[in-house]
Amino acid sequence: MYSIILATASRYLLLLLQMFSLFLLFRGHNEPGGGFVGGLVAAAAYALYFIANGIAEAEKLLQIDPFYLIAAGLLLAVSSTMPSLAAGMNVMTGIWFDTGTALFGKVGTPLLFDTGVYFLVLGVTLKIIFSLAEGDLQ
């Protein structure tokens, strides 16, 4: 079932939703939001695109296997704990560089950690959706 209206709309919606998800991620430290919700919203954006355009298109759009997103997210989250170790503090102590950047809000290792969560959640959700959807085609 292919709907031109949905397919066209989903392209713009995808962009909007992704921007929204990033917005959620960055504002998460002070306002409702955060990496987990952000990741879910981003995944929902892709899910919408997939419903409108089919699984092959959605995978082509993403270009990489969601497993890489999972791995990258985990790596990011783990590596965000390292700077504090290098600085001689206890592991996972948050380090803040500048608490007033215009675009990102506050920059620091917790943000890096949250970004890791974002990518991981996105990857996990997409992997599950994509594998289920691929199964249907066969």
Partner: protein
């Protein structure tokens, strides 16, 4: 630490310079070797070097390092043999796939082995201990496409890993007794430890760990099987270094646990039995590497036995023997690899006459073989002399032990004749490939080791003399002075050495006669510990299958029933006492919105449980979810609401995707089981409602709320408390959760792919 980084970088270098990678790789262990030798004067002066990096100071676990005579010797052996092996492997591994991985593993191994022998902290030592086990597993299973490789790797991992667990338990007991995690802290508390009622348990557990690692009888069987690994690995891990980790531990612990009958006698007996049995087992082997493996076992047994004897002379013999063995056995293994490489076979029945084609390899092998046989003037000779002398010095047992030692060493001579010398002489036979001299990179390493063995034999004072008394003093409590000489004159010991050589020749002659008779015979499986291992493994699998059938029967409904009932029962049984009165129901101030939402939820639930169509049920479920989200908004929890909405949306999408594959909607449940489910659901609902009421009425004040609310902005730099908790205060929990998520995704993926491949939906 640097070692791990270097080994991680290895593949990048390898890809860039595949041709002469060995030469680059060798610089790393060589550098370490020379930096360790620079400590020589200080160690020889009796200094003990320490360095500590704090790791988990709150638990007393630190990366503290200790460089005394014992760890110094091991560090030198590890780096020196490492250098030879790295250089050798650079050429040897070319015809293996994924050679770059090999260097990662072996670099990892070398670093963790160094960490093991240098650690002063028991916990850190244990971590390195397990790391060597894991890298050994990876290296044995390097040719992972071969069934036998995988099996051997698994066997080695299970045996040493099981021993590792015993060791961990033993170390924790020791910590419990003494209250310290440092080896150096244990030494002064020896009296306390030996007199503790837990002493026997701790000792036995530590010994179990050491015996499995060092392949002592009856755990010896994994080592010959581990010969499936590429030859450089066998030379490095399974003869020169890793298998000596257990011996190292015993020597290190000798201070702390030694001196009792339990310790000395067990080591003595186990060592002696291993020494003789494994040498006997080598009798009917024809594979070069297996022969050498059995001889390694025998030597490991000898080393254990010498710690068991525990006299000054025995400890001295221990060190000389240790150094000598590492030098010659490393060489012989590498030579065996060269032969395999050049002639295409490792079968001693086939090999012969290689001397003409490979003169340099032959010279190297000769030197190492003579050292192994204990011929003057090589270092192996001194080792064996001291060994005999220390046995003769004993008061009881000496007669039996000397006989055992002579027989075992005689068999070692036989093995050497078969494996180290025989392939180069005699007539050339038909071989799988035409033998040729090995390239320089594969010759240099073993040749250096062999020559070093000769030099150490000729000038023992220069190479070992000054160090030896320090070495011994790190194992025994008091300082000693030794004379170490090549030539002691004609005496009993020398006579025994000649007797050993003679025995070896006789055994060799007997082997030629007996081998055809022995061929095809099998030892009764009951007597073979490896069959115990197989039986235990099979039994464990059976238990696991049985358990899975009972507990994991695949019915989700059963799981939920069990989980819910267990939770309710446990919670009620714990809480029943603490709350006596029925909580007072707070005065309800119901708004219009709330009434509407609750009725929407109720209606959709009704639809959900009565519907006869899946789609309808899924949508109804979605409606309840969204309504719950709205409730969250009404009560001022936008975070939760946001997450709930996102989850519900994706949940519905997932459900729709799954819907395709489910069989037609049928009513599985009978009325009775529905009633039961309804009852369980009601119980759970009432339970949850009560819990909430109690929580609200009790006004829980744990202080957490105030702490987080207060600390969020100044310490976490964020105003969203929930998020600050997630990513900062409790980041380790989140890290755990997302790891679980990732694993779950992999699980889902694997399950779906497997089902699809199997074609059964």
């Amino acid at each position: 630490m640097i070692g791990f980084a270097v080994s991680a970088a290895a593949p990048f270098f390898y890809r860039r310079f595949p041709g002469y990678f060995g030469w680059i790789a060798v610089s790393f262990p060589l550098f370490l070797f020379f930096s360790f030798t620079s400590f020589y004067p200080r160690i020889a002066a009796g200094e003990v070097l320490r360095e500590t990096v704090f790791w988990v100071p709150s638990l007393g676990i630190n990366l503290s390092f200790l460089l005394d005579g014992l760890s110094f010797t091991f560090a030198l052996i590890i780096t020196l043999i490492g250098a030879a092996v790295f250089l050798y492997a650079g050429t040897y591994m070319k015809h293996y796939g994924h050679a770059s991985r090999f260097f990662v593993y072996i670099g990892l191994f070398m670093t963790s082995m160094l960490g093991l022998v240098l650690s002063d902290n028991i916990a850190a030592m244990f971590v390195f201990w397990e790391l060597t086990g894991i890298s050994s597993f990876l290296l044995i299973g390097f040719s992972h496409h071969k069934e036998q490789s995988r099996k051997s790797a698994m066997q080695a991992l299970l045996v040493t890993g099981g021993g590792g667990l015993a060791l961990l338990a033993g170390l924790i007991l020791l910590y419990g007794i003494s209250g310290t995690f440092e080896f150096s802290g244990l030494f002064p508390k020896r009296h306390l430890i030996v007199n503790s009622p837990l002493y026997p348990a701790a000792t036995v557990l530590v010994m179990l760990g050491a015996f499995t690692k060092s392949a002592q009888f009856p755990f010896h069987f994994w080592l010959p099987n581990a010969m499936e690994a590429p030859t450089p690995v066998s030379a490095y891990l399974h003869s020169a270094t890793m298998v000596k980790a257990g011996i190292y531990l015993l020597a290190r612990m000798n201070h702390v646990l030694g001196g009792t009958a339990l310790w000395q006698d067990t080591l003595l007996v186990v060592g002696a039995v291993t020494m003789v049995c494994s040498a006997l087992l080598a009798f009917n082997q024809t594979d070069l590497k297996k022969l050498l493996a059995y001889s390694t076992l025998s030597v490991l047994g000898t080393l254990t036995m010498m710690i068991g004897i525990g006299s000054e002379l025995a400890i001295k013999a221990f060190f000389i023997y240790l150094i000598a063995h590492s030098l010659y056995k490393g060489t012989l293994f590498l030579v065996a690899g060269t032969i395999d490489h050049a002639a295409g076979s490792r079968d001693t029945g086939v090999l012969g006459g290689l001397g003409r084609a490979m003169p340099f390899t032959m010279a190297t092998a000769m030197l190492a073989s003579f050292s192994m046989m204990g011929v003057i003037p090589l270092v192996g000779f001194i080792g064996k002399e001291t060994l005999y002398a220390s046995i003769l010095e004993m008061e009881e047992w000496s007669r039996y032990l000397i006989a055992a030692a002579v027989i075992a060493n005689g068999l070692l001579v036989m093995i050497t004749l078969v494996a180290g010398i025989r392939p180069f002489f005699g007539s050339m036979r038909r071989l799988p490939s035409v033998p040729h001299e090995a390239p320089f990179a594969m010759l240099a390493g073993p040749a250096c080791l062999a020559v070093l063995g000769l030099l150490a034999g000729l000038f023992p004072d220069f190479f070992m003399g000054a160090m030896l008394d320090r070495l011994a003093s790190s194992v025994l409590a008091d300082t000693l002075t030794f004379r170490i000489k090549l030539w002691h004159g004609f005496n009993e010991v020398l006579f025994l050495s000649f007797l050993t050589l003679l025995c070896g020749m006789l055994f060799y002659a007997a082997r030629i006669k007996l081998l055809p008779c022995l061929h095809g015979r099998h030892i009764t499986p009951v007597l073979k510990p490896s069959s115990w291992y197989d039986a235990a493994l099979a039994g464990m699998l059976r238990v696991a299958r049985w358990q899975t059938r009972i507990l994991q029967n695949g019915s989700l409904r059963n799981y939920i029933t069990v989980i819910v009932l267990t939770a309710v029962t446990l919670a009620v049984s714990v809480l029943a006492g603490s709350f006596s009165a029925f909580p007072e129901i707070p005065a309800l101030d119901v708004t219009f919105y709330e009434v509407v939402i609750v009725s929407i939820i109720l209606v959709s639930i009704l639809v959900l449980i009565t519907s006869s169509s899946r789609l309808k049920a899924v949508i109804a479920l979605g409606v309840t979810g969204f309504s719950t989200g709205i409730i969250f908004i009404l009560y001022g929890a936008p975070d939760l609401a946001l997450t709930t909405f996102a989850i519900e949306t994706l949940g519905v999408i997932l459900f729709v995707l799954v819907l395709y594959r489910l069989p037609r909607f049928t009513s599985y449940s009978t009325t009775a089981s529905r009633a039961r489910d309804a009852a369980i659901a009601c119980v759970f609902g009432i339970f949850m409602a009560l819990m909430v009421l109690y929580t609200v009425s009790g006004e829980l004040d744990s202080g957490l709320k105030r702490y987080f609310a207060g600390a969020s902005l100044p310490e976490g730099k964020g105003r969203n408390i929930v998020n600050v908790i997630l990513v900062d205060f409790r980041a380790i929990d989140t890290l755990g959760e997302i790891t679980v998520l990732a694993v779950a995704a992999i699980g889902v993926f694997a399950m779906l792919k497997l089902t699809l491949k199997g074609g059964s939906r």
